[in-house]
């Protein structure tokens, strides 16, 4: 139940708050991807793919960008699988734990960082396809990724504090 509320909270934060930030055109943080990154480790790969597609499509529905977040989420999930294959998580898979800082430690930090940057780069690239300004694309990606990682860090901190 707690997990479902967490999902609804993050999705609502993304759809109703973060997608409507009018601070700068360079600030479009995609925080909801922490839900995909933090999926339970024992979930089958088929189900992971389906969840990624479903969540991406849901975000697309609210942002009127059909397919962009769905495609990006699918890539993100495949990359996550590749990263997780290189980490020793057998015990945590058996315990059906979600992927988190508490479970994976330092590798979690770089996995999240890389996936967040990748996701932002992919969606901004897809949005500007055909007229790409690399300077704008890279700066948007960088600024939005930093903001997204900051929010994710705060959420992780709150999550860790409450679990303790």
């Amino acid at each position: 139940m707690r997990r479902i509320i967490y999902w609804i909270f993050i999705l609502a934060l993304q759809v109703f708050v973060l997608n409507h930030l009018d601070i700068s055109i360079y600030l479009v943080p995609q925080v909801f991807i922490i839900l995909l990154i933090g999926l339970r480790l024992d979930i089958s790969r088929m189900l992971q793919i389906l969840i990624a597609f479903g969540v991406g499509l849901l975000i697309d529905f609210f942002t009127s960008t059909p397919g962009i977040n769905a495609s990006a989420s699918l890539w993100l999930m495949v990359l996550r699988m590749a990263f997780l294959d290189r980490q020793d998580l057998k015990e945590h898979i058996a315990n059906k734990q979600p992927y988190s800082l508490k479970v994976a430690g330092t590798p979690y930090l770089y996995t999240v960082s890389v996936l967040v940057v990748f996701y932002h780069l992919y969606i901004f690239w897809m949005e500007s396809i055909g007229a790409i300004h690399w300077g704008k694309l890279l700066s948007t990606t960088l600024i939005s990724s930093v903001l997204a990682l900051t929010i994710i860090s705060i959420l992780e901190y709150i999550s860790l504090s409450s679990s303790e």
Partner: protein, 272 residues
């Protein structure tokens, strides 16, 4: 088999990933107007580039076809003659007799300068002494007789055109040689006159005029032209014949310079 099935089962998520990516691509490029326009634009660019590449390739293939066509035309010129075969080499090709003896070497050349409106027309080809082209070699086009080499330097040769008052070619009409001259009178383009043929000769409009055996410069059977009119001169026993040259001298691009391989052996015999 079981291993294969296990492999497919383990990697089924990749198939699902690919299918869902296709669905996403369909949504992105089908339902987002901007991405749709960008995709159409990119597709048009790629298509036009592919078309350009295709055009380049087909034009190159076209060149090959053009070359084959020219070679075929030259072959046709020899088909009716007593000569046996034409052997194509890299740059030149050889005309052999029926027992395989080389009779003529033919070197392709490009016309770089040409006149066809003067009393004494000449053209220049881009082959010279370095290519084995020398004075008094015959020159033909893919359509027929073109001229005789007047002079050569290292790289180029001047050719006396058939449309030249100094040109002497003995015509062979309907397989019979007439010891008269083709006259370039500069009245009509690509049109020459023949005088001195008796009215009793069986010649009709449309008859083909070719080279015969009386020249060492050209193989027998090279088209010179066709009879376009037969004029009976009053109080004369001769026709005045007009012919249209087979070679279009106003559009002369490529020619073949002919070397009679046995010319230097035959000529001394004739001078004795």
């Amino acid at each position: 088999m079981q291993r294969l099935l296990d492999f497919i089962e383990q990697n089924l998520y990749i198939i699902l990933f690919a299918v869902l990516q296709l669905v996403s691509a369909f949504l992105i490029f089908g339902m987002n107007h901007y991405q749709q326009a960008a995709f159409s634009n990119s597709l048009a660019t790629v298509t036009s580039e592919l078309n350009q590449m295709s055009s380049n390739v087909t034009s190159y293939i076209g060149l090959k076809d053009q070359n084959a066509l020219l070679q075929e035309q030259v072959s046709d010129q020899f088909r009716t003659s007593s000569l046996g075969q034409v052997l194509y080499l890299r740059d030149t090709f050889q005309v052999k007799d029926s027992v395989g003896r080389i009779l003529f070497d033919m070197t392709p050349a490009q016309v770089v300068y040409n006149t066809s409106y003067k009393a004494n027309n000449v053209f220049v080809v881009n082959k010279g002494l370095e290519d084995g082209v020398r004075k008094n070699m015959g020159v033909i086009s893919s359509q027929g007789l073109a001229g005789i080499v007047l002079n050569s330097n290292r790289k180029y040769s001047t050719v006396m055109s058939l449309l030249n008052t100094n040109m002497t070619v003995i015509p062979n009409i309907n397989g019979q040689e007439y010891y008269t001259k083709l006259i370039w009178d500069n009245i009509y383009p690509n049109s020459m006159a023949i005088k001195g043929i008796n009215k009793l000769e069986k010649i009709e409009v449309g008859d083909l005029i070719q080279t015969g055996k009386s020249s060492l410069l050209f193989p027998e059977g090279i088209p010179i032209g066709r009879v376009t009119s037969l004029e009976e001169i009053p109080n004369s026993q001769y026709f005045k014949i007009r012919i249209e040259t087979s070679t279009n001298f106003r559009k002369l691009d490529y020619v073949y310079v002919i070397e009679n391989k046995d010319g230097n052996l035959i000529e001394p015999l004739l001078e004795e």
